[in-house]
Amino acid sequence: MTTRIVELRRGILKKNDELAAGLRAGFSSAGVLVLNLVSSPGTGKTALLEWTLRELKARGARAAALVGDLETDNDARRLAASGAPVRQINTHGICHLDAEMVGKHLSDWDGVELGGLDYLFIENVGNLVCPSSYDLGEAIRVVLLSVTEGEDKPLKYPTMFNSADAAVITKMDLAVPCGFDRWAALKNINEIRPGIRIFETSVKTGAGTEEWLGYLEEQRAARS
């Protein structure tokens, strides 16, 4: 018997990373700004997206959404009311979206061409752990945190917050009844991801939504 060490130095998620790089190149050449929305279940990704799709449409922008859930097409039906093209991805038990699922659902999406879009939103499966490992080819990863979840979420899930490009605090209309410590939340986000852009929003009252929309428009302009 001979013992041998074989050096591999191989990324475990190499296949996903390669697919994501291909998607990113396609998004970039089509001129579509792609955002990956991540949060715990129930933070309000769908509610923010409902408002955003409706508002972008009203302003003449072309936006579409892919929405991930383990089961049901409830979110896709909610979002489709905005008039934007929406497609559900059911993962059937898998706790995150990956680049292959995104690629597949884009490639056979009837009537939707990337070149005809200004924005594509990918609403990930509600989970603050696993989606952080899977690049979907997005330009911007947005992490959401609601005032009902606790100000220390960024400290508990540092990987997700550290890998995000922007953070949205949702349900600000509930901040007072929930005893939300705004300064602690802002400090914790900044401790994990220094200097990140933070939006404090409520789609019920409209607070912070103009700033969020302004950010989307600015990011799109910066990339086109």
């Binding site: 001979t2 591999l8 130095r9 989970n127 540092p158 990987t159 550290n162 401790e191």
Partner: protein
Amino acid sequence: MHELSIIASVVDTVMESVAVYPGARVVEVRLRVGALASVVEDSLQFCFGIATEGTALEGSKLVVKTIPVVVHCVPCAEDMELDGVQSFRCPKCGEPCVDLRQGRELEIEAIEIEEADGIEKTGVTA
């Protein structure tokens, strides 16, 4: 929660890599896992036991090396290792650091195999 899919990918890669050593038995699989990789070693070990059953990896040992986070501090002009993942500030000057140089790794570093003597490696590239 996604440790099983990660381990499944590890098993596939290792199987492909040992295919060029006919009759070889895998003794050890060494991973490098960054402190920010969002995977739990206990869970990796548990899944590894299940996923390797009936394969050339059955009975092999999974060794997980944790890679600490390293950030680049602009004022100090130096790469700094962080103690944990609760604060992304330079441990020397306290400045917030956004430039991550290490800590997200999720890779197979190497495998250790036992080969029966007298069998030559086939011509396929690993």
